[in-house]
Symmetry: C2
Subunit: 249 residues, 2 copies
Amino acid sequence: MALIFHERVGLDGRRISPFSWRIRYALAHKKIDAEVVPTRFADVGRIRALSNQHFVPIIEHNGQVVHDSWSIACYLEDHFADRPSLFGGAIGRGASRLVNDWADSVLAATMRQHIYGDFIWCIDPGDRAYFRGSREAVLGMTLETYCAERDAMLPALWGACAPLERTLSKQAFLAGDSPAYVDYVVFSVFQWARIGSPRDAFADAAKLAATRDWRARMVALYDGLGDRFPLYPAERSGPDGRTTEQVKT
Amino acid sequence: MALIFHERVGLDGRRISPFSWRIRYALAHKKIDAEVVPTRFADVGRIRALSNQHFVPIIEHNGQVVHDSWSIACYLEDHFADRPSLFGGAIGRGASRLVNDWADSVLAATMRQHIYGDFIWCIDPGDRAYFRGSREAVLGMTLETYCAERDAMLPALWGACAPLERTLSKQAFLAGDSPAYVDYVVFSVFQWARIGSPRDAFADAAKLAATRDWRARMVALYDGLGDRFPLYPAERSGPDGRTTEQVKT
């Protein structure tokens, strides 16, 4: 039975989730053909029934249901052990988990301030009200207010990437000569930004040239996997999810 | 011929360098007996003659001279391949380099603001004028001014450690179930702070309990290696290196 991959999608099939992207790259790395189930936020009923929680991605394989991208990566590594390794052994797995935690708690947390105000337009129109409401409740402000000072926050974003630049000035990938899960995890956040905003927050980062080159190499992997789906929409259209009233006017 | 390890020392044999500490742990990990050459900043002539540069640590082995802690770790891994591995293979090595670069460019850079004003007193009295002058030239202010707002900077330090806490809440060491070079690199910065300041900047960090526990496990490794040398001196005495005039008064 084919592996089933429940993957987050947005407007017109856009792949909008960094967590789903890292699994998509991991599947490509291991040459696993998956049956993809595009999953909107509105599909939460199916996800809950399947996994008793609401996060995506999820995989189903041989009767097992696995959620949480790190757990999925470990599952793939352990159950497809004859395929190219994502971690390269126990120490690599341990260190990859630290990089995973850094990518989520530092890099993605910094990145979202640069994209959230744009990102809403990449989301399926039917999901926007949910996305906006849930995120603004956490942030305590509108997405647009949250991102209003993003130009002033560029140095913080670039500074957070300084370790990447150091490493990528000395080796082609974060995992060394060839890419592995550490690359997919970190790249997934850059890919989220590529799709989630029309602005390249790194275009003017003079000290991140090696990181930009690596990003381009990551996009090109697996027959241009990073460009297989639509990037930021040319037009912002449809309800923006701000309020029902605003949508009606 | 025994491996020779030129290791940075301070006041009364204190081990004051995070770069030397990571190599000391790496040597213990690989069970390599080394002949240690304690090295003060004043010994720069010997270091330059040996390696054509002025940084420590340095190792000498089979006629080769290797400097830069990352290069030394790679040398040990490659030339003592039958001993326990520091990286666990190519992917682990790649990821360890990223953690190494994070530890230096983020963690150590944040940590030093919490210890530099105290640290001067751990340095050999004959080295203090050099240390103070070289560091203050880079900082553009005195060590004491640099650290004056350190209480206000505690949240930034703790925030920088958030990825560590996430990982160490789920596994005993950064490398997984057992320690490896990623642990030594990150711990070396904590160890620098343990020795370089009487204040434990993490004592009140409510959200870093797993990181503190890991720090204690790291100290205890290899028969308590982290406590083998003196910690912060009980008294601050001797010239502080500020100016010759102040020393004389």
